[in-house]
Symmetry: C3
Subunit: 333 residues, 3 copies
Amino acid sequence: MRLKEIAALVGGTLVGDPEQEAARCSSLANAGPGGIVFLEDKKFVPQLGGRRPACAIVSPGMRLEGINVIEVKNPAIAFATAMDALHPAKKPAPGIHPTATVHLEAKLGHGCHVGPYASIGAGSRLGDNVVIHQSASIGESTAIGDNSVIHPNVTIYPHTAIGKRAIIHAGAVIGADGFKFLTGEGGRRIKVSHIGRVRIGDDVEIGANSCIDRAMLDETVIGDGVKIDNLVQIGHNCVIGDHTVIAAGCGIAGSVTIGKHVTIGGLVGMADHITIADNTFIAGKTGVTGDIGPGIFGGGYAMPINEWRRAEVAYRRGPEILRRLTALEKKGE
Amino acid sequence: MRLKEIAALVGGTLVGDPEQEAARCSSLANAGPGGIVFLEDKKFVPQLGGRRPACAIVSPGMRLEGINVIEVKNPAIAFATAMDALHPAKKPAPGIHPTATVHLEAKLGHGCHVGPYASIGAGSRLGDNVVIHQSASIGESTAIGDNSVIHPNVTIYPHTAIGKRAIIHAGAVIGADGFKFLTGEGGRRIKVSHIGRVRIGDDVEIGANSCIDRAMLDETVIGDGVKIDNLVQIGHNCVIGDHTVIAAGCGIAGSVTIGKHVTIGGLVGMADHITIADNTFIAGKTGVTGDIGPGIFGGGYAMPINEWRRAEVAYRRGPEILRRLTALEKKGE
Amino acid sequence: MRLKEIAALVGGTLVGDPEQEAARCSSLANAGPGGIVFLEDKKFVPQLGGRRPACAIVSPGMRLEGINVIEVKNPAIAFATAMDALHPAKKPAPGIHPTATVHLEAKLGHGCHVGPYASIGAGSRLGDNVVIHQSASIGESTAIGDNSVIHPNVTIYPHTAIGKRAIIHAGAVIGADGFKFLTGEGGRRIKVSHIGRVRIGDDVEIGANSCIDRAMLDETVIGDGVKIDNLVQIGHNCVIGDHTVIAAGCGIAGSVTIGKHVTIGGLVGMADHITIADNTFIAGKTGVTGDIGPGIFGGGYAMPINEWRRAEVAYRRGPEILRRLTALEKKGE
């Protein structure tokens, strides 16, 4: 693509040669002829180390000596847009691999790809251009919307509903039984069957080896635009609001209601039956045992982040506090 | 089923129409004609919102105007029993899928189902009515007891022993090598081979993408009736006592001995070579580095839960403590 | 093997019968005729309980009445060496299973084994004696070095490079997209495409169901000799130095640089863009949000381990501190 085309695509202003060609995006460390880099802030210029990319996408007003720039209000989004244009995701060719097992009572839309050893159960319906990769297991009576991609070794239990443009990474498990046991005679654990399902909205991405349990009754709901990282556990009957983001390693117990536009850092744990308000931000490794939000929270036991930081400072000064307290006591004797 | 049949099944007393039919279980929010709900406590009645289920399973003495009730000592267990009767788990038909690979030297009992792309290694023995789902990998010399269900994409390493009625959810890995490395010259890590195995008792459920490592020598043991949630790590040579429950995201290091009837919340970490007594209860996110129990424990470093709660209150008051201490010091000058 | 052969193999000195045969390694609890045990310290002798193994591998100077010993400077390494000699890992026979899918444009070295339902994508190159187990998915343009073993249900995304003698346990996912989203209009999350790759050195072991994300641009790098336990998350663009060890359940966010010979306990969380120095030791469950090392660290918020221990003691005495403070205040009134 020529720089003038890229500038138009990203809604930016080109300062430089409009006919210059760019073929790829790169990091500053691997910048070179024909490449486009992203430079949000002048402080990162030294990382270029004299390399000469074809163009840098920059914040308004930034100039780089001898390098074409496209200035744009949000250079990060512009660079992501350029990436998608210059490095489009490779889509596997439509068709059902001869080794795949598609049930006669499953329905596939136009342009679907079903990879080797994948299986699609009875009564399932795939939209158009859905990609099912190797060894993915799509249970019975499952719906998957247009343009969704299911990566290898994913397991979708029966009766799951997945929206359009979903990306489900390798090894994820959607719809396993929730973890609910009653205690019977002699402390024996009695399994509570799960007859609910998982319903996932549009534009959702679910990370590798993450797990979303089906509801006991009714539905576990993942809203539109939710992004879930790798190795995340979502318990039965949770409801995750639209455009919420959950980083790797989180464990969300059952029946948790999380609002919209919530941001949850890595390794956060949440107890069951709590509610997180819209727009809440939860720092990594926080433990949440009650309703919180909106606001910014952190700590082993969630608290407003500034309170937590001050408490943490005092925690570190605990030995000093003990010494000062003992000194005062001696003085008073 | 008629309500009189359900009342008999769950050992409860019907107050209402014995001939009324019920076809399904539902939540209060989705209650309706022909449905059975579960109402342990009067305080949940508003959630019914005027809906009229065929019947409610309730605690002794509870009455609902115009709704049949079955009263029973433990309504939660009764409802679970009704669920199993009205919504029996769908068992796949017996038979070996033409794409499956069953070694000539493997033995299968009566009524087994082996799904597409599943493989069963040499010398393995399956009991009766075992279900092996798609792409599950059952290694050599492995035993699986009657009525067990192995979900898709599970990997069972060779020489594993699994009891009866096990449920192993998708993506779980049983019997991978434990994590033990010695440090050699130049800091090079030397792998210690693992020649032990995993032995799992009867009535065990293991969650999606959980991992149980084989012993270095001897056995990693999961007792009867143990229930393990998703994304749990059990290290090599652990021994987990009967009817113990471990919630999602826990990491149990090697050679940990956990007693019977222990309850472990989510995201708990345990250091290696420790012992947890029978009937211990460990709150979510606790870190355990030494022997504990019986009793109830919590905290980043495990402590009796009431001590932990009080310590946590003081932690939050740390900044206040510092101010008060400084004020006292000034006063004394 | 005869004891004189084992002594020579492990570089130790035999005190006892050189012609005695030994056939297997065992624990102290299962010691018996023909078996070799490992006894680093006299204090473990009672665990033998009068059992009579063929030989014990011991620290220099240790003697056991009536039992042959091989004394050696590092008995743990010697025992591991004996284990490998007496219990060599069973290698599956070379050959491509008839159900496997190997792309015409993939290249395999000598002696490779490709198991049932495994798939190897276009342009991929396997070295000699590589083992690909059941249902493993090897994407396009991926390189795997000599003698590496890929266990069942592993997913390797396209363009990954893996060195020699790698062991990748079941369910691991290498090369999924990193977790990076920008926020667009209305709080909508915009995916940033990932066009980088994962590069893994020689002698690396990766645990079951662990995930290593591809770089956004450039590479996520796992150095030589790195050992990663089960259920570990390594974010995009991380660089892990040679011979570093990461225990189960850790979550390492994006762009973290970890030095060489670092030891990281279980369930540790690391924030993005931080640097860990060579030879750092991080205790289990530590949270790391800034650059640290070298040294030994622990705590919810990483601190030098001795400071952390003292702070933790003061934390537990928090309620006592409050009481003493209040008493002082009353006294001063």
